[in-house]
């Protein structure tokens, strides 16, 4: 059934020994799993940090047992100081955005499956690929080390707004060594992602197998390609910004620090810097970063839904072009993060228009998903449920974006929990649902074992309900005027909202605990799960043509030949209602026969 052609030469030699197989591996599949594992560790840390913050917000005077061990100064006797709250918030945001939402759906799944889906043995630069992971891991270690330095981790938020992030330890805890470590970690992270993006783009452009034209690529491969294009240009801008920030800290330059700034009764020697400059450079990266997190999820959801609907989307091309439109427009909207930063009002208008415009491709994608689902006999499994959950989160979180795109409304809602709810749903939870969907879908291929579907569905429903319970009330809090970044609401107009915070905190703790089901399922299935067949979901793309798990050289030293589009479903093939991409079965539509 599967057609192969002779392969010229192996891309790299078969790995020997534990170190070359599992640690410093050149194999894109091992590197993908390393990225995924890093994301798992990171998401656990990030989630625990959010628990600490939530408990403190709901029960401000309650001691959190053990927290003083992490920071005796930040949490004496387990009681969190306001500064330590901000430090945890900064680390939570940074870890989640960079080391989870960027790492798992893009670098994790992308590394594992992109070369296979294009029919290649590996990426064109395996050494760069390996370096990319180890550089990213180094960045993670540098960031985590900020917990253990003298004055604690940084507290300027994951956006590290200057001048607070630039003036140094005179501004208080976390703004000395901790902030330098933050900027260093993010700078290192950028280098790792640039190397990764270079590999991804070259893989798609140069490594496609015979017959794999661009339009025959699975939508996941397109999503990773588009994401790497965004990453290449966005991280290339954040890197210089981090260098300038570090220089303001350690070399006394004045890129971001204005003249005459008095901090803690001391006049700083810096002069003439522009605080807005940091915001421009950061958000030029920051808003595309949203799509770095979400576009791979869009690809995964589309891929999983098509497989489980057993028929193509209404228009896969419209989804593809919409993803390109999102990538392009993402660079033109970044100013909407700065509506209240003192920009010229005309600039606000200029950024508001593309912000509204970018909702069009998002809406097109969602409508195609929903229209394609209509009337389909969707196979309900954990992967398809999380794909549906992704759509739900993306729509719910996206709708609140309409409000924030209007400068006049944004002025009121800016820096409130409305914004927190918006971006957690549309960017955070939606992307996480994409990661879950991809995990349940590709786990059999990655490990050779099936995950437990029943527990997968339980995991979905509890997570789905839990995340709505956490993040929908955030919108209400925001509309009620609850500002974000406050560590406590003890003696002001926000006191009546504390019961809502308690509800959210309980929901967050429960939803976090539910993830133990996923972790248990992941680990148990890895070792004790039923053996996975080569193609358990009856999918058409090339990764399902090979054994589970794939051999080190993917296609056994041969190049597959591709004859079909990625999504040949709803037909009468020799193996069922689908035809694999590399099958040389001739397909003819009934319409053509007529």
């Amino acid at each position: 059934m599967h057609d192969m052609s002779a392969h010229a030469a192996p891309h790299h030699a078969p790995p020997e020994g534990f170190i070359k197989n599992h640690v410093f591996s050149l194999d894109h599949k091992v590197i993908g799993k390393q990225y995924y594992t890093l994301a798992l560790v990171a998401v656990f840390i990030g989630m625990v940090l959010s628990w600490f913050m939530r408990i403190h917000l709901a029960w401000t005077n309650a001691a959190i047992p053990g927290l003083q061990l992490l920071s005796p100064a930040g949490a004496p006797n387990g009681l969190m100081t306001p500064e330590y709250y901000l430090e945890l918030m900064t680390m939570h945001g940074t870890i989640m955005v960079f080391f989870v939402l960027t790492t798992a759906p893009f670098a994790g799944f992308g590394n594992y499956f992109l070369p296979i889906q294009v029919g290649a043995e590996d990426m064109p630069f395996p050494h760069f690929n390996m370096m990319s992971f180890w550089i990213t891991l180094t960045a993670f270690c540098v960031l985590i080390s900020a917990f253990f330095v003298g004055d604690g981790p940084p507290l300027a938020g994951w956006t590290a707004y200057a001048p607070l992030s630039a003036v140094g330890s005179i501004a208080g805890p976390g703004e000395g060594t901790g902030q330098v470590l933050w900027a260093t970690a993010i700078g290192i992270f950028c280098i790792g992602q640039l190397l990764g993006s270079l590999n991804f783009i070259s893989t798609v452009l140069d490594m496609r197998t015979k017959g794999m034209t661009l339009m025959r690529l699975p939508i996941t491969a397109w999503a990773w390609f588009i994401t790497s294009c965004i990453g290449l240009t966005a991280f290339a801008v954040l890197l210089p910004a981090c260098i300038l920030l570090i220089l303001d800290h350690v070399a006394g330059t004045s890129f971001f620090i204005a003249s005459g700034l008095v901090v803690n009764d001391k006049l700083l020697p810096h002069s003439g810097g522009s605080t807005l400059l940091w915001q421009h450079l950061f958000w030029f990266f920051g808003h595309p970063e949203v799509y770095i997190a979400i576009v791979p999820g869009m690809g995964i959801v589309t891929h999983v839904l098509i497989t489980n609907m057993r028929r193509p989307m209404l228009s896969i091309k419209a989804i593809l072009y919409s993803m390109w439109a999102l990538a392009f427009l993402s660079y033109m909207v970044y100013g909407h993060h700065m509506f209240v930063s003192g920009m010229n009002p005309f600039s606000s208008l200029a950024f508001s228009f593309p912000t509204l415009l970018i909702t069009i491709p998002s809406t097109v994608v969602v409508l195609i998903w929903i229209g394609s689902l209509y009337g389909s006999k969707l196979r309900i499994n954990a992967a398809s449920l999380f794909a549906l959950g992704f759509i739900s989160m993306f729509v719910s979180g996206g709708v609140s974006g309409f409000f924030l795109a209007q400068p006049s409304i944004d002025i009121m809602l800016h820096a409130t929990y409305f914004v927190v709810g918006h971006f957690h749903m549309v960017m955070g939870v939606a992307a996480l649902f994409g990661i879950f969907s991809g995990t349940y879908f590709w786990f059999p291929k990655m490990t050779g074992h099936m995950m437990n579907e029943t527990w997968g569905k339980v995991h979905f429903w509890l997570t789905f309900i839990g995340t709505y319970a956490i993040f929908m009330p955030f919108h209400y809090l925001g509309m009620a005027g609850n500002v974000r970044r406050y560590s406590a609401f003890t003696d002001d107009y926000l006191v009546p909202l504390i019961p809502v915070h308690k509800f959210i905190t309980i929901a967050a703790l429960c939803t976090g605990a539910v993830q133990l089901i996923f972790i248990f399922n992941l680990i148990y299935s890895r070792f004790k799960g039923p053996k996975a067949p080569d193609n358990p979901w009856e999918c058409t793309s090339l990764e399902w043509t090979m054994p589970s798990p794939p051999p080190w050289n993917n296609f056994g030293g041969k190049d597959p030949i591709v004859y079909h589009d990625a999504y040949q479903y709803g037909i009468e093939g020799s193996s069922g209602d689908y035809v694999m991409q590399d099958s040389h079965e001739q397909i003819q539509t009934v319409r053509d026969e007529k």
Binding site: P124, F125, L194, S197, L198, N199, I201, S202, L205, D206, M207, K210, G211, M212, T213, M215, R216, L232, T233, A236, V237, P240, A241, I243, L244, L247, A251, T253, S254, F255, A258, S259, S271, G272, G273, S274, L276, L277, H280, L281, F284, M313, S315, I316, I561, Y563, D565, G570, I571, E572, G573, S574, H584, E585, Q586, I587, Q588, T589, V590, D592
Partner: protein, 222 residues
């Protein structure tokens, strides 16, 4: 949506159109052939170099916009004369591009079996390597000249940008030198691919173009 599947054609020599058309609307080709294409991908490193160049362009565009915004954000911008060494360095870098291009052609001739290049096909690559090192040393001399004027990294935003931009470029040049060393080593092992040498050359030429841009920027803004 319903379709039928036929047996594959019996012929050994399938007709592969040069361009595959795809999409859900066109599953079956009109002539009944299966759609696969012969020319499916270029050599591995042919695109990567341009991808890398794009990323570097973005980084220096970010530096440039930062420079322009910073210059306009305050009245503390101080103008100064560029160190004369920069102009010498410019000639050195441009000369290195010429020597590399000669070297690339000589290596290509050697690989094609030309006897005249058998003695030392890498000679011009070594010359390029030397000129590249001279450029980096020259940049260091330029920093010393600026320092002698009392202009340090934090003295003024204009001097800050001078050091940052020239250092960032010098780091990229060092990367290019690393690529050259790798190409020479591969050549000595008879394992050099033409695409690798081409990519190294394109990168090196880009370093020259980038330097001309930076020199113009520094000359007009500082």
């Amino acid at each position: 949506m319903a379709t039928t599947v036929h047996e594959p054609p019996k012929s050994e020599n399938r007709n592969f159109p040069s361009i595959g058309h795809s999409g859900n609307g066109g599953w079956a080709p009109a002539d009944g052939t299966l759609r696969a294409v012969e020319d499916y991908s270029p050599p591995p490193s042919s695109s990567a170099i341009w991808v890398g160049v794009a990323a570097i362009c973005m980084s220096f565009a970010a530096f440039t916009s930062a420079l322009i915004v910073r210059e306009g954000s305050s009245t503390d911008w101080r103008h100064f004369a560029l160190p004369s060494m920069l102009y010498v360095d410019t000639l050195v870098l441009l000369a290195s591009s010429v020597t590399l291009e000669i070297g690339r052609r000589r290596v290509a001739a050697f690989m094609a079996g030309s006897r005249s290049e058998e003695a030392s096909p890498a000679r011009w690559l070594y010359v390029t390597l030397f000129l590249g090192l001279v450029f980096v040393v020259g940049q260091y001399v330029a920093w010393m000249q600026l320092k002698a004027q009392g202009l340090y990294l934090a003295t003024n935003p204009s001097s800050s940008f001078f050091y940052v931009l020239t250092a960032a470029h010098a780091l990229h040049v060092l990367g290019g030198l690393g690529g050259l060393v790798r190409a020479i080593r591969k050549l000595s092992e008879s394992a050099l691919r033409r695409s690798t040498l081409n990519a190294t050359s394109y990168y090196w030429h880009f370093m020259g173009v980038l330097w001309l841009y930076l020199l113009l920027l520094l000359w007009t803004k500082l």
